[in-house]
């Protein structure tokens, strides 16, 4: 008889794997990816493919160089690449996603120990760096080829290149009344269904919500971060309205910009968000407060990225102070 396997219990394992979770995130992002291509054309698809390929290749190269096992089959680099593409305007030059993915994977993820060790969301950190390094590329918004905003500005933007694009305002910029944004707000339905200016993955809330429902159903994410995040933004933008207390357009705020993408897909990144249930709610509320403050009072029209990054670095502290009460805990003070 061959020797029996002797190992410590348990002897059975659930079917869930890291790769399956990452694949689920990719699947959940597909409706929004399709919406991006539908509203912004083939160039959006090109940016996504380039971004994903460079993320996967960067991961493989870095792991090879560091003589570590190459783990690109766990789908996590695909997720990062896709998330980064979602956070880019559809008009960026094609080398930008390559640089962005390299930053996300090499600098933010692998340099800190790889999967599970990044202290910030890699795609968002890369986006913030790109925004600082190439602000013009990162804030040049083109009209979509379809949808409510497609005829709003007389932009002659073509799929072939970014050079034709002109800087035009996103709904959030209009909402904020930034200079040179005397345009009308696009109708709410177009914000929800898609077809307004913005990053290529955030255009359709509907598509993002379909994917989010899938992630919740698969229990890849819990409701805690997204609901507390979006709820806080809704509450604050309603209370702190432009014409005094309780005059804000909360509905418009929560469906505009990157909130849905950020709340369901970015703030829920496992490595950079709390593991405790209470901590996750604190994370969501914190993101909501910072997003609202930036949107209402800050220099930028949008604050989702910075709010998540700031809460990312607070995550170890939050985990520490929200340790769950254990069964039968005997408190020293009782």
């Amino acid at each position: 008889m061959e020797p029996l396997i002797v190992s410590s219990s348990p002897h059975v394992y659930s079917k869930d794997t890291t790769a399956r979770i990452m694949l689920d995130v990719v699947l959940a992002l597909l409706p929004a990816a399709a919406a991006g291509v539908y509203f912004f054309g083939g160039r959006a698809a090109l940016i996504m493919v380039i971004s994903v390929l460079s993320a996967v290749m960067t991961e493989a190269i870095v792991q090879k160089l560091m003589k570590k096992p190459v783990t690109i089959s766990d789908w996590s680099a695909v997720v990062t690449g896709l998330m980064l593409a979602f956070n880019l305007p559809p008009t960026v030059p094609l080398w930008l996603p390559v640089v962005g993915s390299a930053i996300a994977i090499a600098l933010v993820k692998q340099a800190f120990g790889g999967l599970g060790h990044n202290f910030m969301n890699p795609a968002l950190a890369a986006r913030a760096i790109l925004l600082a390094a190439w602000p013009v590329y990162m804030t040049t918004w083109a009209d979509p080829i379809r949808g409510a905003a497609s005829g709003m500005a007389s932009t002659n933007w073509s799929v072939s290149g970014a050079t034709d694009a002109v800087s035009s305002a996103t709904p959030l910029a209009i909402l904020k009344g930034l200079e040179g944004t005397e345009e009308q707000l696009p109708p709410l339905w177009s914000i929800i269904v898609g077809g307004t200016r913005g990053c290529l993955g955030e255009t359709s809330d509907l598509a993002l919500l379909i994917g989010a429902a899938y992630l919740l159903w698969r229990r890849v994410i819990s409701w805690r971060i997204p609901v507390s995040f979006i709820g806080t933004v809704a509450l604050l933008t309603w209370i702190l309205g432009p014409q005094g207390l309780f005059t804000g357009n909360a509905i418009y705020h929560i469906f505009s910009g990157g909130l849905m993408l950020g709340a369901f897909y970015m703030a829920t990144d496992y490595s950079s968000s709390p593991v405790t249930p209470k901590g996750q709610i604190i994370m969501g509320i914190g993101c909501g407060i910072i997003t609202s403050i930036i949107r209402l009072y800050g220099g930028y029209p949008e604050g989702v990225t910075y709010s998540i990054l700031l809460m990312n670095v607070a995550t170890p502290l939050i985990d520490r102070f929200t340790m769950p009460r254990i069964y039968g805990e005997v408190r020293a003070d009782v």
Binding site: S14, I21, G113, G114, L115
Partner: protein, 444 residues
């Protein structure tokens, strides 16, 4: 069954895999040629042998005497001649001293075997009988029952819970016992209640065993103070602390015992063993073992003599199918992997699980992705990922600070982990080191 059930926090839903044996009536296995009776069958100190090689022993004769209060005697499970007393593989401890008896096939009972009547015995006599019958927890931990039934004076016990949850996958020994012998269980419960002077008793069963719930409810119908409670099927519902919380909302304090919250928990098998020991006078010399898994030809629930080697038990179930990859004593969540089939059945052996290569797949661990599933699954409210990370670094102080010692080792964290990390395994290591340190500190 109108009792409010609290449930418990966390837990997992492993596949039940009970189909193979849950409808199979318990069969009595023929006693083997040789039995190997371990002198340590329980938590506590091992027994001193009362026999020597060459002695003739009778069925039910006491052959090992415990050295301390926490211990239980062991008895001959066959009549015959003592061949040897030597170190043998032990299903829970690697190795231990065992009395080897050659069965003469006569089953000639010892003179001490006298049927008794529980009604005519007082609490002290019953407790002593339970001790002398060598009764220990039949759920797997094998804690001496008479110790559980001797709470200190200052602990007021108001509730006895019989654990019929059987939440481990594959196992059906308790299930069949409840379906086939509910009367014994109820009688045993009455004895336990009498010994403790308690008016209230619950028999708790998971809702995936409706036939057992029906049978038990029927048997307990006319007994005052006894109630059958249906529990949601979720692992580890049968863990003592989770069971107590589910039924009473009381939490056993960290580092404490169920008696600290006025509860004593016993397995349904233990209750039945008590009832039979009184009725027949025969001490604990056999138990029901679920023999199952893909590596067994005919999975069965077998009534097996204590000391029967696993090999013989498996042969009584049609033998092995192909090459076994892993043999487990107990269930797949908390059971112990065996290195040989020569290991014998002890009082706590609830199941023999033979897993094929396919079933026994041990996945490669990957890095922790901090998904938090282990935190959600931990029924004790711990954070396994952090305790484990510290333990793997050898930082046991921090493991202890994060309540490593409260881990009940149910294995939910390792089961649910998508990265297949050795969570409970490393927490177990931490617990061992911390216990050693505390012992050393206490000795100094």
């Amino acid at each position: 069954m109108g009792l409010k059930v609290f449930g418990f926090k966390g837990g997992v839903h492993p596949p039940h895999r009970k189909e193979g044996t849950q409808d199979k009536a318990v069969e009595r296995m023929q006693a083997p040629k040789l039995v190997y009776i371990h002198l340590q069958q329980h938590t506590g100190a091992p027994c001193e042998p009362l026999v020597k090689p060459g002695d003739r022993v009778k069925l039910g004769q006491k052959i090992g005497q415990p050295k301390g209060f926490v211990g239980a005697p062991v008895h001959a499970s066959v009549s015959g001649v003592v061949k040897e007393i030597k170190q043998m593989p032990h299903p829970a401890m690697g190795e231990g001293l065992a009395v080897i008896i050659e069965n003469d096939g006569m089953d000639e009972p010892d003179e001490s075997i006298i049927p008794r009547d529980m009604e005519s015995m007082d609490a002290e006599e019953l407790r002593n009988l339970i001790l002398e019958a060598g009764i220990v927890g039949m759920g797997g931990a094998a804690f001496p029952t008479h110790v559980k039934l001797s709470p200190p004076k200052d602990k007021k016990i108001d509730l006895v819970i019989l654990n019929g949850a059987e939440c481990e996958p594959y196992l059906t020994a308790d299930h069949r016992l409840m379906v086939e012998n509910p009367q014994d269980i109820v009688e045993g419960l009455k004895v336990i209640m009498k010994v403790l002077g308690v008016e209230r008793g619950y028999i708790a069963i998971e809702d995936n065993k409706p036939d057992a719930i029906r049978a038990m409810a029927d048997a307990a119908k006319s007994v005052s103070g006894v109630e059958v409670v249906k529990l949601k099927t979720r692992y580890p519902q049968g863990a003592e602390k989770q069971l107590i919380y589910a039924l009473t909302g009381r939490q056993v304090p960290s580092g404490g015992l169920p008696m600290d919250v006025g509860v004593v928990v016993n397995n349904v098998g233990t209750a039945a063993a008590i009832a039979r020991a009184i009725k027949t006078g025969m001490p604990l010399i056999e138990r029901i073992v679920t023999v199952t898994g893909g590596g067994v030809a005919q999975p069965k629930n077998l009534l097996v003599r204590i000391g029967t080697p696993f090999k013989d038990v498996i042969d009584a179930c049609g033998g092995l199918v192909g090459q076994p990859a892993k043999v487990i004593s107990g269930g797949p969540m908390m059971g112990i992997a065996q290195y040989t089939l020569d290991v014998p059945v002890i009082k706590g052996t609830s199941g023999i699980l033979v897993l094929t290569k396919q079933e026994a797949e041990t996945p490669e661990p990957g890095p922790c992705i901090r998904c938090g599933r282990c935190v959600e699954a931990c029924p004790m409210g711990l954070m396994p990922l952090f305790i484990s990370a510290y333990a793997l670094k050898g930082d046991y102080d921090n493991s202890e600070r994060l309540h490593a010692m409260d881990c009940i080792e149910c294995g939910c964290c390792s089961y649910i982990c998508p990265a297949k990390r050795p969570l409970v395994q490393s927490v177990r290591t931490a617990k061992r080191v911390i216990t050693e340190r505390r012992k050393r500190a206490a000795a100094n």
